[in-house]
Symmetry: C2
Subunit: 304 residues, 2 copies
């Protein structure tokens, strides 16, 4: 069993979708990641919250395989984000981003975490991702996320991070932008040359594409869902299920990577069924197992 050190944002989100509106609910990439990963592995969360987050700590992270000794609590307000989705949930507009205490975030990795065999660098400033990497000792596998903002504004720091990353998880438009190449097959090769031996390209409602150790790709569709309530956090939940399952395996092989993609897709398919992490908080291992099997029914065929 390999504990995962997870670094990223914990936030309060306000979200409007065609199906409803919520204000100041628990969000943040590291929140979705940690709750999802904790179904499979021990998670060591390094993040920052304000004093206003206290009432939610036990409800969201309690009674799970999530260690909070690296969670900093600073005087002030927690990171806040507000977003609004279009009618088909495909487009999203950010109404505001208030960094609040996140502005002073300096990831300090507790001594007990520094030998974590699995490390996940959430979508934060590449300079902070580097600080994390400089504090850990010989991790077996480093996963990372990033976004167009850092690709455009801090390309040099991002390149330094990528040279030390094993698995990069980004969305398709980001992959194209990072590689400067519209064709995803070619873009994948360009990005792999930057460092990550495995690239996981997230395509939202269209599923995921992953490069494989021996060459070629694995592709998984998203589960067709009748109720997509709120897509917020789907990608982070995917990353949590993916990294969590990998960390639960003895070795990382083609077969475990491929199953990790399906576990990530499974967790993400639940996350979007409700606002915030609410669906994940009431999720059971049996439900995970049933939907994982459902992906097989969804995609498998016989040659004859």
């Amino acid at each position: 069993m390999n504990p995962i050190l997870a670094v990223g944002s914990v936030a309060f989100d306000s979200v409007k979708t065609p199906f409803g509106e919520v204000s100041r609910v628990v969000g943040g990439a590291a929140t979705y990641f940690s709750v999802a990963a904790s179904f499979f592995a021990d998670v060591r969360l390094v993040a920052v919250v304000g004093t206003d987050f206290s009432p939610h700590l036990a409800r969201v992270f309690g009674n799970r395989r999530i260690d909070l000794s690296g969670l900093q609590q600073l005087p002030g307000e927690t990171f806040r984000w507000k977003g609004e989705y279009g009618f088909d949930l495909d487009s999203r507009e950010t109404i505001y981003t208030h960094l609040n205490v996140f502005e002073q975030f300096q990831p300090v990795i507790p001594e007990a975490y520094r030998d974590s065999p699995f490390v996940f660098l959430g979508n934060i400033h590449p300079a902070l991702q580097l600080e994390v990497l400089n504090q850990v000792r010989g991790p077996r596998l480093v996963g990372a996320d990033t976004m167009n903002y850092w690709i455009e504004r801090t390309p040099d720091a991002l390149r330094q991070v990528l040279s030390r990353v094993d698995v990069l998880l980004i969305n398709d438009s980001e992959a194209r932008e990072l590689a400067g190449e519209a064709n995803l097959v070619k873009a994948a090769r360009v990005i792999q040359a930057m460092g990550p031996r495995t690239l996981v390209i997230k395509r939202g409602e269209h599923g995921v594409l992953m490069t494989r150790p021996e060459g070629g790709f694995f592709a998984a569709p998203a589960m067709p869902l009748e109720e997509v309530f709120d897509p917020t956090g789907a990608g982070d939940t995917f990353a949590g299920g993916f990294m969590g399952y990998l960390a639960s395996c003895d070795v990382v092989t083609d077969a475990t990577l491929v199953r990790a993609i399906i576990y990530g897709s499974t967790l993400a398919s639940f996350a979007v069924e409700d606002f915030s992490v609410d669906r994940l908080l009431r999720l059971t291992p049996d439900e995970i197992g049933a939907r994982f099997a459902g992906f097989k029914t969804l995609t498998h065929f016989d040659l004859v």
Copy 2:
């Protein structure tokens, strides 16, 4: 073995993609459909061309399982279309559409074709699709395509067609528009209530989603390709591979429908590798078999 009666357009296309430009090459939905389907089944093509098409007849349709006795040749020019693709091949602009002889197209089904067990109604005016259905006698399976133009302008005629269709193949935005519903799972149910027991939703580079006889969905990604030269005709080629394989089976079952999706995806993945039907014209059964197997590698995983 079930011959397929295929009705639709044969055209000259002029196409500009980021990778090149061609002028007045052979195109048209029924062309792509027929060539693709002919790898699996006998095709009876009902369409119209001008006298200017003569030099291409033997090269494109000759030495294939394509019967041309229903192909009308009228004095005048063949249907012409010109389109231009954006840098990522995702967006397409129609520069012009000249119907030419297609404007007078009245599908006359030769007596020898009227008992065709499989019928495919290409994307033409629903009134013409109805005329075809009124001339055939008890087909075993009717497949059809349509587009937003008919959904918006001739909804009543389209509804009459749909009530007599077994398999509807349309793209995802058309499915949403036809159903008046953004969620694809719900949209599928709405469209099935209009008639088609099987709905095949084409998502371009993101693959295909099909409703299944016993409920639920089958999903297939598109094959990740390094060279997507020209997406024109990919959907029509998919339909040809899909219908062609189904027609080659004794019975239409969940297993054959699912394999038909993969054969359709296989043929479409070749079609985009070159302009016009050029790649299909030099395609071999061995190449089809190898890429079909490649789809299994691309998507299959083990439960443990």
